[in-house]
Symmetry: C2
Subunit: 322 residues, 2 copies
Amino acid sequence: MGGDKAPQVPVSGAVAAAKEGIGVLLVGDQAVLERELATHGDVPSGIEIVHAADRILSTDDGVKAVRTKSDASMVVACKQVAEGRASAVVSAGHTGAMLAASTLLLRRLPGVIRPGLAVPMPSVLGPVVLIDGGANVECKPEYLAQFAVMGRVLAHEIMGIDDPTVGILTIGEEAGKGTELVQEAYALLEGTPGFIGNIEGRDVPKGTARVIVTDGFTGNVALKLYEGAAGMLFSEIRRGLMSSTRGKIAGKLAMPSFQELRKKVDPEEYGGAYLLGVRGMSVIGHGNSGVRGMTNGIRTAARGVAGDVTGHIEAGLGVTSK
Amino acid sequence: MGGDKAPQVPVSGAVAAAKEGIGVLLVGDQAVLERELATHGDVPSGIEIVHAADRILSTDDGVKAVRTKSDASMVVACKQVAEGRASAVVSAGHTGAMLAASTLLLRRLPGVIRPGLAVPMPSVLGPVVLIDGGANVECKPEYLAQFAVMGRVLAHEIMGIDDPTVGILTIGEEAGKGTELVQEAYALLEGTPGFIGNIEGRDVPKGTARVIVTDGFTGNVALKLYEGAAGMLFSEIRRGLMSSTRGKIAGKLAMPSFQELRKKVDPEEYGGAYLLGVRGMSVIGHGNSGVRGMTNGIRTAARGVAGDVTGHIEAGLGVTSK
């Protein structure tokens, strides 16, 4: 029931994923979901409806809604994972609520101090993972050290990156640059697998580090700025081209090339962000996700389950914790 | 003598600015500067050389170099302002050294707690100013409140923006979102001229706030990411187009439109960043500034002097300090 285009988009995404053999529990108002499913005609067998009478609205206070609306679709969906009836939960609903519901209901993996929001982003070299994208506004060095381990597992299992590099996002490349948090995290990460040291904002689009470790405040500002900058440039290019006949012809000719690039920087490619460090996979989609984003979110969640992301995180943290 | 292309670029920029009637002291090795000036033939009368035997290298530790190399061109240039022989200093040399030299030698304006680095950036609505771009890695709410006043003066006097809007860069739009620093700065800024509240990373390219207030850590990450993202997209577009004949034709046709946009997001448009809150104008150019960037830096410095940016900052802080 979550996201700007519910129930159409989540149901279409579920149908597409189920056709690929992924079992999907659709959580929400049974009558609404049945009606929506009926529009798809031949519903694949892997889809089941789990009734949830209530829902969390985009205007709700996220944390409060999770605590008070026990019948909300998002809460019931997270309970499916917590109670072992599902291995992953995917939602394009209220981001704050989904963060709270995943943290509170799925609970942390043993040894995890704070779950981190891992966000796939594009770079020249292919996808990179930024962690934390906003789950923890104020961080301690130990959180960042764990984010590095968790981000590397995601980059390897979901993005297929071998031995992913890890960098701390900061203000200068040399060790000792940046806030106290950065300096202490640097000391903790020095010598750990993949660690390449500090990176600057300009290194993000270059793919200098495939796992970008940062506090949730800086990370959230960075990822939204990055997304906004790409969107702004594309619409400015379109506007510029559409303002002349010559430009319109150029735009037509350049279309295949633009579409390829657009796909490369498309946030729907991975279907959303991943809350890592909880028991189960939690995928938090964009509120305005389309069917492609939703389907990709379900696909990558399933891939994360098959690749045992949570097991690898547990093992990784066990090895590195001193 | 500063920047990757010294002495050619600074001397060419100085000659171009002097031709427009701006008086320029060229600070550096007299013989080198005379030789470089001679290549320009007809040197305008407004240029004078001030000899400085030493220089700060890009490999130097900035703060240390300023303290120990008293004959370095950058130090001598800042002294020209401190001692009243010049009203502004412009350099494309070592950024950290220039920050240190400007702060130490020009000294703070009365009432300024910390000078802030104001960086012009592009947006859909025209230029915006981000402050602080990296002068203060750790900030207090009072610094941010002053950055707002100083940034508004620059936006008005240099960019010609009437009654510029001010936003705090943070993780969510609602008041109460973000770090303690953001929340306290919000309380200080509430009700002050132009203040529109919190903005998110995605609002930067939209121009939602024309003055973006943030700590130097977040600001530096944001501005470098923004610059990097724009550069990355342009080179990816070029690469995509150049890979097919069809694309090459499109690229040729789209050239005027691309060039216009490139100019819009060109960091050389304003010649660099401004250290605000010191006695005099201090413009810190990109190390790889071209002649256009250098000339624009000198021009905007002169405009800042003519518009009495420092006087307006002093007055603005006097009015708002309680």
